[in-house]
Assembly symmetry: C2
């Protein structure tokens, strides 16, 4: 067994033993993909196991996250801070080796994978960020941003639509430094891929504008080596290397079958496999020193590479001090000094009514002038979402230095690509589409929340307020669905002034994604000289206005409906019912406040509470309780002018006034 064979088997069997010890997991892919992974990591991947955060490292994504044991085995072999004991605690509580790779938990894991297709699409975002930063910061003879994004992708990844979307965009943008090894093993859980996946993958990727290499023998190191060289040589197109492999390779009874996929081989079969592949180390978790020595050269190589890069960066810093400082700041994720200057003056009392989508566009355009890392785009709706960063150019394959990304009608990939850009670092990405289409991008939004990524998802046309387009375009349940996602902050500002504050929250939030929910229709600018300051948005909810400090009834709402609540509150108070109006733009921020503050906004003994939101009523009982009234839309919308819909669906100040009077009367026993 030569060093390559020895190392491949060492990587392979450490993964097999890891799964077997846990008695849970997926051995098949690690066994078949070990050769390609080994060649990539040993001969090509530019990384420094001692510094997994080195900005100019190559990125590696294991898109079929269920094959996590392969990644842990690679990390161990190449000398990341992942002790063998952690591999022995695979899939156990509080280990660094969870069932699917989790970013932040395990050094060297670039992203959390598991839901198929996401790794593929996030990788496109990483490659996009690299390209963008390189275009902006590199100078002749100063290639300080210069790395590849590699990934292993599976049959399942390529069947998911999100991969198709991302691949098409990657082809359009000619992302030449994106290289995926496709583990083409013909097997999926229900059997041979023929039953559901008869397409010609090579031809499909050709059609997307990719450089396709192979099919090659993915089990042969030299074939993989040549293929990756060809891929690296192609700088104008992303590359897909089709690697024919055998799932569960080496297992006498399971190789090439679906049963190798999702369950441990069994102790006996592990032994038979080791025997078949001539692996003498029957004792689990045995790693030959020769393999370890060989693979841990990655540390020496990595240090040398990083040192060389640091020297180049220093030279760059001398030649281009301003750019270097900006790049440093972008990498750090910190906002430049004075980033929010002037935002508070954008909107003043007396301004004419303005849709929050328009107000948001104004804020964004103010931001990008100061925060260069701020970049993003829309799924073919920029004129409607008002998210264009004016005079800031767009992404393209020829002139590449703009800030605006044309994602095409691809909401799902848009979410994943923005996440990938955030993962890469150096950018603060945003996306934009209509709120209804948030349904198309829930999987990446969830992953961003799970990974704690800084991304801003902008959703406009946020209710029946969009009017004539009708129920297919009118969100009802989308807000609620997003409010249930842990670590996702949802903001629905009520006017331009809350909009400014919402953007401050979003920009300063570094440990998770933020959702911005905006109106299509114009809304009055609340008069902050008369009302509470908009900075209350930072706390998620605040008392906007009240008739007296001891309210009989509390009216609460978000976004466009806050104005209805406000009107009702004034009417009630004028007629002798003391009302308080609470703006609740973000449940998550409000819930995170100390109980004392929350109780000051919503006094526990005031049970006459009414909420209003042009969305499903489900969930508002959280603040309204069993004794109040939730005014919402418990059905789908309809096609008609917005004003008609608000009237027909009872989202009116008069309705709130009636309900409030009823509640107060019931309480006083009238």
């Amino acid at each position: 067994m030569n060093t390559d064979e020895l190392s491949i088997n060492s990587v392979r069997f450490l993964a097999v033993d890891t799964v077997q010890k846990a008695n849970s997991g997926h051995p098949g892919t690690p066994m078949g993909a070990a050769p390609m992974a080994y060649v990539l990591w040993d001969r090509f991947l530019k990384h420094n196991p001692a510094d997994p955060a080195w900005p100019d490292r190559d990125r590696f994504i294991l898109s079929p996250g269920h094959a996590s044991a392969l990644l842990y085995s690679l990390l161990y072999h190449t000398g990341y801070d992942l002790p063998m004991d952690e591999l022995k605690r695979f899939r156990q509580w509080d280990s660094k080796t969870p069932g699917h790779p989790e970013r932040g938990l395990t050094p060297g894991v670039e992203m959390t994978t598991g839901p198929l297709g996401q790794g593929f699409a996030h990788g496109v975002g990483m490659a996009l960020a690299e390209r963008w930063l390189a275009d902006h910061y590199n100078r002749p003879d100063h290639e300080i941003v210069d790395h590849h994004t590699y990934g292993i992708v599976s049959d399942g990844d390529l069947q998911e639509g999100v991969s198709s979307e991302a691949a098409s965009l990657a082809g359009t943008l000619r992302l030449g430094k994106l290289i995926y090894l496709y583990d083409d093993n013909d097997i999926s859980i229900e059997g041979n891929t023929d039953i559901a996946f008869a397409e010609n993958v090579a031809q499909r990727f050709h059609a997307y504008g990719w450089h396709v290499v192979g099919p090659i023998d993915g089990m042969d190191p030299e074939s993989v080596d040549s293929a990756i060289k060809m891929a690296k040589a192609e700088s104008g197109r992303p590359s897909l290397i089709i690697c024919r492999t055998i799932i569960g390779f080496g297992s006498p009874n399971k190789a090439g079958t679906a049963s190798a996929h999702g369950e441990p081989l069994g102790e006996e079969e592990v032994l038979l496999t080791k025997q078949k592949l001539g692996w003498p180390h029957v004792e689990p978790f045995t790693v030959p020193q020769e393999a370890l020595d060989h693979l841990r050269e990655a540390r020496v190589r990595g240090k040398k590479q990083q040192d060389g890069w640091q020297a180049r960066l220093d030279a760059y810093g001398k030649a281009f001090p301003d750019e270097a400082a900006m790049l440093e700041e972008a990498w750090s994720g910190e906002l430049p000094q004075g980033w929010d200057e002037g935002l508070d003056d954008l909107f003043r009392p007396g301004d004419k009514p303005i849709a929050t989508r328009d107000a948001s566009g104004a804020v964004m355009n103010a931001l990008v002038d100061r925060v260069h890392a701020f970049t993003g785009g829309s799924a073919d709706l920029a004129p409607s979402t008002k998210t264009l960063l004016k005079d800031h150019g767009h992404y393209g394959f020829e002139e590449f230095c703009g800030h605006n990304i044309h994602f095409g009608v691809r909401e799902h990939a848009m979410g994943a690509i923005a996440n990938g850009m955030s993962l890469h670092g150096g950018t603060i990405p945003y996306t934009a589409t209509f709120l209804i289409f948030s349904d198309y991008m829930r999987p990446p939004m969830r992953l961003a929340a799970l990974m704690g990524l800084r991304v801003v998802y902008i959703f406009t046309h946020d209710s029946i307020g969009l009017g004539e387009d009708g129920p297919t375009h009118q969100p009802i349940e989308q807000l609620l669905g997003m409010r249930g996602v842990p670590n996702l902050v949802v903001l629905r500002p009520a006017d331009a002034t809350e909009n400014v504050e919402a953007w401050k929250v979003a920009m300063e939030r570094t440990n998770g994604p933020t959702v911005m929910v905006l109106s299509r229709q114009a809304l009055p600018v609340l008069d902050r000289d008369e009302l509470a300051p908009a900075s209350g948005v930072q706390k998620g909810g605040y008392v906007l206005w009240e008739h007296s400090p001891n309210p009989e009834v509390i009216l609460m709402g978000t976004g466009s409906e806050l104005h209805i609540a406000f009107e009702a509150g004034k009417t009630l108070s004028e007629s002798g019912v003391s009302a308080r109006v609470v703006s609740l733009p973000s449940w998550e921020l409000f819930d995170a406040q100390p109980r004392e503050y929350r109780d000051s906004v919503l006094p526990p003994d005031v049970r006459a509470r009414i909420s209003i939101e042009a969305a499903t009523p489900v969930g508002w009982e959280r603040y309204v309780g069993l004794d109040g009234v939730v005014v919402g839309i418990p059905h789908f919308g309809a096609s008609a002018p917005a004003s008609v819909l608000y009237e027909k669906f009872g989202l009116t100040a008069q309705h709130l006034v009636d309900e409030a009077r009823r509640l107060v009367a019931a309480k006083s026993g009238v």
Copy 2:
């Protein structure tokens, strides 16, 4: 102007006038796509405007639903029950001409479209259903199921991932009677499609195994005619006809630009366009009698076609009375007599614990023996979701008579295809995947709810109870997200006996989709000799058990957590706190009960309430109120054995007992 030209312009300008009158809508696509639509509807489409429900009609889908004015114009011209007055009330309250086509509202509208990609993917389901019914029911010389599925699809549709998924499956299954005309107009909202969509569509569809015709001149009727003939002649592959068109054709100032897409031309531009195309009818809504006479021949042709088919059906009924009766029943959507026989005996007290996914599989296999129309499949997870219909074969291109569909790893298309099958009629479709992947299929689930389709979405691995796969696979917010969708019934049965009842609900629900949420882990079979009958599931919630009729505390839960609540309830009652345990498998069904019933289950004056569900706590305040305790998981899960997670996250009977004691003590002021 010959009759074709006259008719095309008549269709075109009625659409233009419709949009202009509403002063809202999308004129560009109707103007460019009028020729292809005209040729298809006038020369090929087999339909009877007098009977839009005729089962053997060809199906037509307008996937870019924003071009609805084109469809309404076609329906008017060919003589459907859609008066001109309705076109004049385009996009107004209570009209039959909403902004996007809505099934059920407008005769002749086969499906609700608007969210891009959905029409494309639903059409694949229609073609699949046709193929399945034809395979099952046709006999030599008795082709009683024999129609095509046609569609117009747009650039945006082809960019959406769901189309890619559906196209790949349609190619694999060789759906030769599926024919799409691709309106290739190079324009999307943000500009020329080059900026985001540079792929080679023809090559991509070749790769999927499609028959690609063109690009042709989509504005030339004879080119469209030849292309459709070629597509019809190809019976072994689905066809994509690439029609080059000009968006906003005829408009001197807007043709070929994005500004023709989403807003009315303006009155002046309408006049200029009519002038340019030599259309003398400046008065809006003028339809020349010649065009009307010509296009309304569809009624004569349609009647003749339907009569011919009826005669063939009668002959079939004589030759194959049993099959004819079955087919009739399938079309009617009614369940056969005795469809639920024996279901109640599937599970008995004393049975060993069984996962609800396994129990569900048993029910499904009992069902399919009696309900032939019951068919579906999984997104490559059948062995895990336990949804295989044993000994019932699978869909394939050679042997096509099975019941099991291999959807591949394509959750999004799976949802859309199942919807399309339901729309087609003759089938009761189901889908299956893990609950976490419901995130991938939210858009079609919403459409099914909006259209009122009978589909069953099965989701297993419904909580942290799946254990080691970790947070990427553990649902937290998915249940809440689905509970917010109007007209979607979500059921999370607690054991095998509730499972049976849940399936009864799902099978009998004809006006909307049902979600079945099932455990991976085994759960005890509740002893119905001792407890309330499982039929309480039909009401969404019921008192499972109580210590006395005057409970001090109510414990409520769903699914696997109901057993924890039950254990806590018994413990409490033994220690002197009278507890009631409520099973709440479906919020929607429970909320639909009369107040009297709901109050009998959850007496308004009992405020010591605790809910438990292994999911986000958000939303449970609906039943718990401000004074109770919601036990849930307000964060993401983790990778570890299920039992460890339940303990670590506090989902234990002891926790409930402690909270209950605290609530009761607080109330009594102790």
